[in-house]
């Protein structure tokens, strides 16, 4: 299972980067989102997966006894997902605005505005 998931994660990373290298701005967002799935899965997988045992202490016990899923990456991913959502929304709105103001969604054309005085 780990091997399959690892390959899948690698593919997600590859696909995300591939989309991000496109010129179109919408593909950029999709690429970023895919990259964030890949990253979340990556973090989830490094801690080694355990099937079906959540990190919740049984009513009868006071401590968590193995086997149990590692709670640390889960806590990390949980906030990452929510923040990722906030950032995605921000990026989408930003891109909408850029598109509206400049009339183009081509990344290659957008970089000419940077000047240094």
């Amino acid at each position: 299972m780990e091997i399959v998931l690892a390959i899948l994660t690698g593919l997600l990373f590859a696909a995300g980067l591939y989309l991000m290298l496109h010129r179109g701005i919408v593909k950029l967002i999709i690429g970023i989102m895919m990259l964030s799935y890949a990253t979340n899965l990556f973090i989830f997988l490094i801690a080694r997966i355990t099937r079906g045992v959540p990190a919740i202490i049984n009513q009868a016990k006071e401590v968590l006894t193995p086997p149990f899923a590692d709670p640390i990456p889960q806590a990390l991913i949980l906030t990452a997902i929510v923040i990722g959502f906030g950032i995605q929304a921000f990026v989408i709105v930003l891109i909408r605005k850029v598109y509206k103001v400049t009339g183009t969604s081509d990344m290659e054309k957008l970089n000419s505005t940077e000047t240094i005085d």
Binding site: P54, I56, T79, V82, F85, G86, A89, V93
Partner: protein
């Protein structure tokens, strides 16, 4: 989207959404759930309602000012972070009261922290969705 059936059903479902999200919030400390999840669920409910009955209608009905909600969520969390200092304990020490409330369970600063997260998530998500659907 504004069929009568949908309109009526969302009016009926809305309290369920809120109650279920609160349930998820309060059980979060001991079982799957918590402020993030509860907040997301509640805001999905609000968003569905605003899609069917209109954003302005929803805002008027629940008196929602997203920025205000975000601020109060942050405030609740921040207070629960700071309050242990007044008892002479380090920042963020979890303080629990002895009594329990039926359905909610034990009361303590981590719970208030989670409540703050819950409120903030509702504010953030409804701010995003409302401003986007208004435009």
């Amino acid at each position: 989207m504004r069929t009568v059936i949908l309109q009526t059903s969302i009016r009926l479902l809305m309290p369920l959404f809120i109650i279920f999200s609160l349930f998820l919030l309060f059980r979060g400390h001991n079982a799957a759930g918590g402020g993030f999840i509860g907040g997301l669920l509640a805001s999905i409910g609000l968003f569905t309602r605003s899609m069917i009955l209109g954003v302005n209608n929803t805002i008027a009905k629940y008196k929602i000012q997203p920025i205000g909600i975000i601020a109060s969520g942050l405030l609740v969390s921040a207070i629960s972070v700071i309050s242990p200092i007044f008892l002479g304990k380090p920042l963020m020490t979890g303080i629990w009261f002895d009594f329990t409330i039926p359905l909610i369970g034990k009361i303590g600063t981590p719970l208030f922290f989670d409540i703050g997260v819950y409120i903030l998530v509702i504010g953030v998500v409804s701010n995003i969705t409302f401003t986007l659907s208004k435009n």
